[in-house]
């Protein structure tokens, strides 16, 4: 059994528990708070104080490292490292159909987190081939899937249209996508078998992601 060191003020609370009704916002009768509620309020107050004075990073930041002035996933810090890996597939004629084939794979460095701000998924026709390699936008002939550690990233788990180009990448919808240390970032492509014959067999698929890593 646990012994609590409480002063007489606490026993006063216990001594007169029913002095007046306490009602919540919906007029339901609730019990009067006791010393344990006071203890929990203390904790809330400490947490508030901690958040108000720069939060946990102030305490947990490794010695000697300057705290980021802004959130590093919103604005790239000076010591951040940009990345833009590009993946090019084999010719479409050689790609297995109806399965996810990784066109681009990259790993977030250990000790770094990152954010993906832009991406590219497009079909590059062969020389003299038809525009877009015969791919009809939104037809479901090709699905692109961007994932980190097997988890499809927000809104990018099933892309059915080409987005951006290597010259002008497409921004990620609804802000950057955060990735974490040692995440395997994969850009997969899935070609529907029934429609593969409609695509230029010599066209290639290009995928890319752009963003930055920062020390966590």
């Amino acid at each position: 059994m646990k012994t609590f060191a409480v002063d007489s003020s606490h026993t006063n609370v216990l001594g007169r528990p029913n002095r007046g009704l306490v009602r919540d916002a919906c007029l339901r009768q609730v019990q009067r708070p006791n010393e344990y509620d006071a203890c929990l309020m203390n904790e809330l107050d400490m947490w508030e104080g901690l958040v108000g004075s720069s939060g946990l990073t102030k305490i947990c930041c490794p010695m000697g490292r300057r705290k980021y002035a802004t959130r590093p996933w919103v604005q790239m810090p000076a010591e951040g490292r940009q990345f833009k890996p590009v993946g090019v597939s084999d010719v479409i004629g050689n790609i297995a159909t109806d399965s996810n084939i990784a066109v681009l794979q990259t790993i977030v460095p250990i000790g770094y987190d990152g954010v993906i701000t832009d991406f590219v998924c497009e079909v590059v026709p062969s020389s003299g081939g038809v525009a877009n390699g015969g791919f009809v936008e939104g037809s479901g002939q090709i699905h692109w899937r961007l994932s980190a550690d097997r988890r499809y990233l927000r809104d990018l788990g099933d892309i059915q249209v080409t987005m951006g180009s290597l010259v002008q990448p497409s921004p990620v919808p609804r802000g950057g996508l955060r990735v974490y240390s040692k995440n395997l970032i994969e850009f997969d492509v899935n070609i529907t078998g029934a429609t593969a014959a409609l695509l230029d067999p010599l066209a290639r698929i290009v995928c890319s992601v752009t963003g930055w890593f920062y020390a966590r």
Partner: protein, 206 residues
């Protein structure tokens, strides 16, 4: 509280839904007992009540294939998240719990609960089977309750990596103050119980 032989004030044994459960052997060496001990202050506080929040809610009851559900939960400042439970119809839980990834983020501090997205199977209720017809739904109790500070918003994300829509639900068990912090403080001070509160506790939260 009661008076012990040596004159110290001693807490009465705690009797609540956890200790009264007949399906659980309450041994001091098991995780559950230790986790409940961490919740002792919370269990003894009178100004808290249990709320359970479901994600996704009834309007968005499935998580589309290759997609996600994001939902914001609005609770009370000073609430504690103390358990999670992931459940789905039996066959779906069996095959798809490892296809759902979960992350819970405090919207105020933007601090995520997990260092990376966690598999929902970690919070899966104990499996029954189709043959015996029962499914226990014991929530996974956190090692320590998680305090939710003002403005008391939690962003819950569920990602589905399967090629099919999944019908499932994550339930967040929250102990929520019955009254706003201001009112609790006032009542504690009226009752003379504010003696150990630091002076800055008396500021307004809203």
């Amino acid at each position: 509280m009661q008076l012990a032989a040596n004159g110290a004030l001693v807490d009465k044994p705690l009797v609540d839904g956890f200790t009264l459960s007949l399906s659980l052997v309450y041994q001091s060496t098991v995780f559950r007992a230790s986790a409940l001990a961490q919740m002792e202050v919370l269990r003894r506080a009178k100004g808290y009540r249990v709320r359970q929040y479901c994600v996704p809610d009834q309007e968005r009851e499935t998580i589309p294939a290759f997609s996600q559900v994001e939902q914001q939960i609005n609770t009370m400042p000073g609430a504690y998240l103390w358990a999670l439970s992931f459940s789905a119809p039996f066959e779906e839980t069996e095959t798809n719990a490892s296809s759902i990834f979960v992350q819970i983020t405090d919207a105020c501090t933007e601090s995520p609960m997990f260092s990376d997205y966690a598999l929902a199977s970690h919070f899966e209720a104990l499996q029954g089977s189709n043959t015996n017809g029962w499914n226990r739904r014991n929530p996974s109790i956190l090692a320590q309750p998680l305090l939710i500070g003002p403005p008391a918003l939690l962003d819950v994300e569920l990602y589905n990596r399967a090629a099919v829509d999944i019908r499932c639900q994550l339930v967040l068990f929250v102990a929520e103050p019955c009254l706003p912090p201001d009112q609790v403080l006032r009542l504690i001070q009226e009752g003379g119980g504010g003696g150990n509160l630091p002076p800055n506790t008396r500021r307004r939260y809203y």
